[in-house]
């Protein structure tokens, strides 16, 4: 046993070098894991401070804190880089020292070979070969076993066989849904499938005998100004913020939230959407339903079609939408068509268009460019003069298109200012509002430019600026945002009566049976008789704020407040359990 001083010294050197390497390596590994939380560019601490500063921009101590933290992170980052560099070289040196010392020590202890007699070399070699073969078989089985475990334990969601792939790549949804399945007109009329009802008139023919009371109310988890729509026993509403935009579905009888679905990952839609003014929000346009699907569009241009069970059928990105106050025109449906009035531009047209999509697939049927800047009125579809016409309002043109191919039927240059109130078809006329200026009635039977010839009558009294008018029979009713309700004759535009309701009004009025519903902004629900005599039929106060317009369906009145969705019905109905 050679334990010369040189050997001992070399061994000691080797141990020290080894320990040194372990130490340096350990420090570097520790630093690596610690640094993961102290990245200057991902630190949650810094982000939180920045958010605080955004809320309180002039806070000097906070600014100083951010600057110091940022400097600390950057210094640490530099130090860590330098440490890693030095550490690498130190490790290299240490390893070299270790290896040289240990190798030299081993060389000193090298023993000379002393082969022992091997009488059964032949037998041994045969046994060895046999053992080698069996262990090779073992290795082979182990490898095969591992491969099989990997192979059979795989969690692939993609198809396995060629046929399955074929099916995936040419899905049957490429076929179009036959038109025969489209709900008949009666179904549309029985429901409230879009803003202000199936024809956009804001009226429903059935009746409530008494002033309705609250049957249920449900919290709406996301903010928005869109009005509710109703089909069958479901109420749909959209809401959202720049982070997330969703569609909610409630049971119309009980108010239970059946499902909510986010419209997200829309192809082409940027993840970060621009801010929209709070007064408009992301979910101002009202949804639309065609009996098989519901459609929702948001201020950033995300459009989604969902089945009634909440599954997404298709999504489309129509943005970016350049609208100074935020896009708010609601969707319109007619049969299998979905219509979108996408007016953009602050003072001059910037890509405004009217789009018709096929509801089932989202395929664009036609698109018409419009010579107008942004507008916030929702189009209506009417059967007049023997044609199905789409009436659109913007500043300055009111334009009518055919539903089938979007060709212009007539247009008139009658509007000014920002057009918010939507048109209605009442008394045989198309009623349009030039906000704060004129209420006009137009004959829908013209062709070409009917600016000079189409106007039947116009009035400048009590012209509303936000709420759309509503008409029944030969009467037209309007409400200004100051709360002045006026009744005009539909044939001549003469004022019949007016009254001040003492409340600010954003929502458009609606007529249910013979009752005119006006929903004040601070929760006052006033019902007036929809007749030639001014007669208040009832007034109730709801504990919420309202911007959205009422929906009438299924014997109930649905109101979307800022916080809750309300269902009102006949007062003697039992109150449903709150969800």
């Amino acid at each position: 046993m050679n334990t010369s001083p040189l050997y001992r010294a070399l061994l000691r050197t080797a141990w020290i070098a080894g320990a040194f390497c372990v130490l340096v390596g350990g420090i570097m590994v520790y630093e690596h894991f610690e640094a993961a939380t102290n990245d200057p560019w991902k630190s949650p601490q810094l982000l939180a401070l920045r958010e605080k500063l955004a809320a309180d921009p002039k806070n000097e101590p906070l600014q100083k804190e951010i600057r110091q933290l940022d400097l600390k992170f950057r210094r640490n980052f530099r130090h860590r880089l330098a440490l890693d560099n030095t550490g690498a070289w130190l490790l290299l040196g240490g390893t070299l020292a270790l290896v040289l010392a240990a190798a030299k020590a081993a060389a000193l202890k090298k023993t000379l070979p002393l082969p022992q007699p091997k009488p059964d070399a032949g037998e041994q070699s045969i046994k060895l070969a046999s053992r080698a073969r069996w262990s090779l078989a073992g290795v082979g089985l182990a490898v095969a076993g591992c491969l099989l475990i990997i192979g059979l334990g795989n969690t692939s969601v993609l198809p396995g066989s060629r046929d399955a792939w074929q099916k995936l790549l040419s899905p049957p949804s490429a076929q179009e849904a036959p038109i025969a399945e489209a709900p008949v007109l009666a179904e549309f009329q029985a429901n409230w499938p879009r803003f202000r009802g199936w024809d956009g008139s804001g009226t429903a023919a059935w009746d409530l005998k008494t002033m309705p009371g609250v049957l249920w109310r449900s919290v709406i988890p996301a903010p928005g100004h869109s009005s509710p729509i109703v089909w069958g026993d479901r109420v749909f509403i959209s809401g959202g913020t720049t982070n997330r935009r969703e569609v909610f579905c409630y049971n119309a009888s009980s108010g239970a939230l059946l499902w909510q679905r986010a419209i997200e990952n829309v192809p082409g839609s940027p993840l970060k959407i621009p801010e929209t003014p709070e007064d408009t929000g992301c979910a101002a346009p009202t949804m639309a339903a065609d009996g098989r699907r519901v459609y929702a569009i948001f201020a950033n241009g995300d459009l989604g079609a969902l089945n009634f069970d909440g599954s997404v059928v298709w999504t489309k990105y129509l943005g970016p939408v350049k609208n100074p106050y935020g896009y708010a025109a609601s969707l319109a449906v007619w049969g299998d068509n979905l219509l979108i009035q996408l007016d953009q531009g602050e003072t001059r047209p910037e890509g405004s268009k009217l789009i018709s999509l096929q509801g089932g697939s989202g395929r664009v049927l036609w698109e018409r460019s419009r010579p107008v800047p942004a507008s916030w009125a929702t189009p209506i579809i009417i059967d007049a003069a023997g044609k199905t016409q789409i009436i659109t309002l913007a500043d300055p043109w009111v334009i009518a298109y055919t539903l089938a191919d979007g060709n212009e039927l007539w247009r008139a240059q009658l509007l000014e200012n920002e057009v918010v109130p939507s048109p209605v078809f009442a008394g045989g006329f198309v009623l349009l509002v030039s906000p704060g200026a004129k209420l006009m009635a137009l004959r829908p039977d013209g062709t070409g430019d009917v600016t000079k010839t189409g106007v039947a009558w116009a009035t400048e009294e009590n012209v509303p600026d936000i709420a759309s008018p509503v008409g029944i029979g030969e009467l037209v009713f309007t409400v200004t945002s100051g709360g002045v309700a006026t009744c005009f004759g539909a044939n001549d535009g003469k004022k019949i009566w007016e009254t001040n309701l003492d409340t600010e009004v954003q929502a458009s009025p609606g007529i249910l049976g013979d009752r005119l519903f006006i929903l004040g902004e601070h929760g006052a629900l006033v019902t007036l008789q929809a007749g030639r005599e001014l007669h208040e039929m009832g007034r109730t106060q709801l504990p919420d704020k309202f911007d959205a317009s009422p929906a009438f369906a299924n014997g109930h009145v649905f109101l979307r407040g800022v916080t809750n969705l309300y269902c009102l019905g006949a007062a003697d109905a039992k109150l449903a359990k709150q969800p």
């Binding site: 073969r133 490898v143 692939s156 993840l271 708010a328 916030w376």
Partner: protein, 438 residues
């Protein structure tokens, strides 16, 4: 419904934030009045092409010197210094890349992917050591491979691995080679490069996982000589095959073997073999012939079994390919949506997939079909390798001397010093029968 708004401030900020138009520049280039000149972006040049050719030249020169040192000079010291030079040049200077170990992947990648053309230098790096191995054995491993040189350097006290274990584990390099080639051929990536444990040391940086693995290999290499070379190196597998038919072979003795057995323990890499046992018992001979016959018959069965096992592997193996992984993630997202953070690689790739899902799925379909074939071949290859090795282990070697195994010998020249005839050649000992020096 809308309210009337306050215009100016909100509008200004909104317009700034809401402008997302494509096509022209949003902010037109300025007209500078004070004579300001636009700086230009610096474009530091990459390593020049002629230097790549110089690398190939150095490789060929090093191979030549290695062959000369092994067969002509028979010098361990010379090989040691050559391997140090290779470690410095190919290892620390060139950072271990491009290296022959990974080059078969480039070749296969070039064969099956028309958008990649193999550079000529890579061809040299791939074929030169193989051609040399056909003539002179694993001269590349001896003095030229930087990974080998590194492991060689840290070898302190070799521990003998039992021969049967060594032989059984010697099939693993072929499996690694097969896996590397199918991943290269399908365009997934270069897994041999990805999992090379020593290159991060040459780069002096790397991920924690691979650096730890490298450290583990080095620590193991202090006792088990050249673990990567013997049990993992895929190119080593190719060199082993080439060396089996090489023209010259490394012999311990410079002239003839005296059967003194002094070199038995001299190979730190388990390559030394003894002569075949003399005088075969007829009983054993018949058993051996029968066994050989069975194993030969078993060979196609193993290949078929391998092909079957390989075919099961395809969906899992394909997931390593980024395009297939994206299709999987996209499909999974449709049924079980996961909320990824904004602007993370996952959410961005999903966004891109959602723009044209058909293209993503079609690409994944095409890749899956390629993987079906590749994994089937891979399985068959595993079966073939194991079957052939079994056959090789049942054939009696016709060895008469103590000499290293052709395929396993790394030509490091360590065994020469143990041979008395070598000492005679070097003049360190008088020849048998010669008078001792006075």
């Amino acid at each position: 419904m809308l309210r009337r708004l306050k215009f100016v401030g909100a509008l200004g900020v909104m317009l700034l934030l809401a402008l997302m138009v494509c096509a022209e520049q949003r902010f037109p280039p300025p007209d500078f009045e004070n004579g300001y000149r636009l700086p230009s972006a610096s474009t530091p040049a990459a390593r020049q092409l002629w230097l790549q050719y110089a690398d190939a030249g150095v490789l060929l020169a090093a191979l030549g010197i290695s062959v000369w040192l092994i067969y002509k000079k028979r010098s361990r010291r010379g090989l040691f210094w050559l391997s140090l030079f290779s470690l410095a040049y190919f290892g620390f200077y060139r950072k271990g890349c491009i290296c022959p170990i990974g080059s078969p992947q480039n070749i296969v990648y070039g064969l099956f992917n028309p958008d990649y053309v193999v550079p000529a230098t890579v061809l040299v790096f791939c074929f030169a050591p193989l051609v040399v191995a056909l003539f002179a054995g694993r001269a590349f491993c001896a003095g030229v491979c930087p990974q080998g040189a590194l492991q060689d350097l840290v070898l302190i006290k070799p521990v003998a691995v039992p021969l049967w274990l060594e032989q059984a584990l010697s099939v693993i390099p072929y499996l690694f080679l097969g896996a590397g080639l199918i991943y290269a051929g399908t365009g997934t990536g270069f897994v041999i490069c990805r999992y090379d444990p020593f290159v991060p040391f040459f780069r002096l940086s790397g991920g924690v996982f691979i650096l730890t693995a490298g450290a583990a290999f080095l620590m193991a290499g202090m006792f088990v000589g050249r673990p990567y070379c013997r049990f993992l190196c895929p190119y080593g597998g190719l060199l082993r095959l080439a060396s089996l038919v090489s023209k010259w072979r490394v012999r311990v003795t410079p002239d003839f073997c005296t059967q003194c057995r002094l070199c038995e323990q001299s190979c730190p890499f388990g390559a030394m073999r003894e002569p075949a046992p003399s005088g075969t018992n007829p009983k054993w001979l018949w058993a051996e012939r029968k066994r050989l016959g069975w194993l030969l018959a078993l060979l196609p069965v193993l290949v078929a079994a391998g092909m079957w096992a390989g075919s099961k592997l395809s969906p899992a193996a394909a997931q390593l390919h980024p395009a297939v992984a994206l299709a999987e993630r996209y499909t999974r997202q449709q049924s079980h949506p996961v909320q990824y953070g904004l602007m993370t690689p996952e959410s961005l790739s999903l966004q891109r997939a959602a723009e044209d899902p058909k293209a993503v799925l079609t690409a994944a379909a095409d890749l899956r079909h390629r993987f079906d074939l590749a994994c089937w071949l891979f399985g068959g290859w595993i079966g073939l390798v194991i079957g052939l090795k079994l056959v090789a282990l049942s054939v009696r070697p016709g060895r008469t001397d103590f000499e290293p195994d052709r395929g396993a010998c790394l030509a490091c020249a360590r065994c020469f010093a143990a041979c008395p005839n070598e000492r005679v050649r070097l003049g360190l000992m008088p020849a048998a029968g010669d008078p001792a020096p006075s």
